[in-house]
Amino acid sequence: MALLEVEDIRASYGMIEALHGVSLEVEAGEVVTMIGSNGAGKSTVLRSISGLTPAHAGAIRFDGEEITHLSPVEIVARGISHVPEGRRCFPRMTVRENLELGAYLRRDDLAEDMDHVFELFPRLAEREGQAAGTMSGGEQQMLAIGRAMMARPRLLLMDEPSMGIAPILVERIYETIGEISREGTTILLVEQNALQGLAAAGRGYVIETGHIVLSGPADTLGDDPKVKEAYLGA
């Protein structure tokens, strides 16, 4: 049984359906990347899993339990953390406060996790007392990932960690993603930056206009001409 099973979900914004039946699986310990161009529905898949845009049809199961209609709070409590598109750090809070909020549902001691995040991202340790809104995009991305890690998630959802970030930092972030995966956290990643995203993953899905059109091992998927075609045209 996979850790996460998404079965034929549909989700809409108002009158417009963004997902027309999407299915995917993520096994425990895996890194899975979903790629696709803008507006294909990548973010919506993640939002449906974390309960922000609940699916109105289909089912989402986490560790065997159906979570389709749970509230975001209950989903976080079950061990799914979501690093949202555009990072969404709390701009007028310090780095430390952002990290503390990541562990909002935990009542135990945070010191160890805090140290761990600072280990992953030494840059954050330097800026511990700085307001998140004043940091660069890359630093905010680090913070958003660190914040999600503070909940000790079993599954980490990441939405375009490379978006709008200088290439050097993108590499730095992907290195850390690898580290997080090696430590045993399962990751579902969504990327527009296809090769970058697939390079970090074991398996991949390609999504186009609300449908999964392709799936397979990440290394073969990256070479598939269809991917290039989808992005850059034939």
Partner: protein, 272 residues
Amino acid sequence: MSAGPEKAAAPKPAPEVPIRAEGLTKKFGGLTAVSDVDLELRAGEIAAIIGPNGAGKTTFFNMLTGLYRPTSGRIRRGQRDITRARPDQITALGVARTFQNIRLFPTMTARQNVMIGRHSRMRAGIFGSIFRPPWVRNEEREVWERAAEELRFVGLKPELLDRPSTALSYGDQRRVEIARALASDPEILLLDEPTAGMDPRESGELADFVLRIREERKLSILLIEHDMKVVMGISDRVTVLDHGELIAEGDPAAVREDPKVIEAYLGRGATA
């Protein structure tokens, strides 16, 4: 006021460069969304702006249409400096647009939406609206018919004309949005991801339609687009933005082979 309305002025001969951005920059707080971009749209061409998510394309559009005020740089419409002009003034100068996430007026019918697009070319003021003299009646009737005409032009089925816009299919809503933009008799049409959310067949149809618009309406089109098939198929020139900066410009084929572009899209090592 007492004189009858003039007929909508015949389109003036298009100036050499209908719209031009010079060193356009927009900062939000510490973030630079668009950085020192020069771009011009030539008369009668279809130009595309492409780039990954968050590259600053829509911000650029919003500056051209007056929704955002540039932090620095200039925008010229022909000979005129419109850097600080209001959106309605820019529309009146013949610039019309659509939105990435369709922004039709939800409770209005398709026809009413298109009639709004005609607003800047109408003259009825408060007294005209209240007393409705003959010229206002004529104006209303003309706009009423013109709206139907535009909707026919974009291919909306006649029976959908007076349906609320929210009751229309996604593709029809896109069509209505374009009709609404065309209703203002623009010389320049800005399309923000016109194929977003369409399947390949619909996208192809739309691409053909954009070409037809240019043919029949003799206007210049600037579009933001993600669907590379569409971009490659119809644009005369492509400009690539990444991180708010212009990284490449040229004809589609050349841009597609530009390593900087491939890297921006597919990531490092893609060209290796």
